[in-house]
Amino acid sequence: MLRKWTSKDPKTEFAQLIPKALRMIGSVILGQARELCPIQSGRLKGSLTFALAGEQSTPKKPAGPGDIIGKPSSPNEVWIGTNVEYAEAVEYGTRPYEINAPVKIKGVGWRYIKRHPGISGQSYLRHALDIERKRSIKLLRDAIEADYGK
């Protein structure tokens, strides 16, 4: 398909197209990560967000007030993540560990425990990325085709 010349600079047009596609990709992976994220208080799930260069992330409640993530310096990247301190432990897992502290157990309430059983196999970010990888590539291709034709 031939495309009508609009007298706009193709580089400028393409530069506008990339953030649009990255925002779609970020939304899709973020949605999947929120689906997969284990929920106790909901803070981790609410804090998951994405950021583009030049745009601040916007985590949802019940994320804390400081739960924004950094943003990429390159306009060709989208960052998806959280700054909640225990997010890494949930993503990568932990071995059982000494805790000696009160812990809120879902369905039970607060209990004092000496040893936490550890966290394993609850990866939500990498899993979401792998599930949505093909769809993300398709979204990018569709965005280019919509503007530039097949």
Binding site: Y92, T94, R95, G121, S123, R126, D130, I131
Partner: protein
């Protein structure tokens, strides 16, 4: 008996690689979690994602799986050096492994995480495995 899942085949590779078992005994290689009070160092592995076959056990499929490998130790540099040896032993491995065909295995970067009670370190890396015939 041949492996029935990608995790079984992966375990077969781990426990039958001398470079790995010289550093971590086969009895200290676990799926998902170590048994309580296992002495350091020990190794755990599990499937993070398998988009083509979400039920990685009891499922016949082919596809690409992301496997996470963890080495736990109370010595940070030893955990890291073991992780390097394990990664080097697994990276770019291909061919039939206990009845499963590994088309390619590409290992990612290693990161070291401090455990929550400050007594141990977790050197972790992912490996992307393309496989057939499970």
């Amino acid at each position: 008996m041949a492996s029935n899942s990608i995790e079984e085949a992966f375990r077969y590779k781990l426990v039958n690689t001398a470079a790995i078992t010289n550093l971590v005994a086969a009895a200290k290689i676990f799926w998902l979690e170590a048994i309580p009070k296992t002495a350091f160092p020990y190794l755990t592995y599990f499937v993070v994602s398998d988009p083509h076959a979400p039920m990685s056990f009891d499922h016949t499929d082919s596809g690409q799986v992301r496997m996470q490998v963890n080495i736990f130790d109370d010595n940070k540099s030893r955990a890291l050096s073991i992780a390097h040896v394990v990664r080097d032993a697994l990276d770019q491995v291909s061919g039939a492994i206990d009845g499963v065909t590994f088309a390619a295995m590409n290992c990612k970067g290693i990161r070291v995480l401090k455990q929550m009670d400050d007594n141990a370190y977790q050197a972790t890396f992912d490996t992307m495995i393309q496989y057939y015939d499970v």
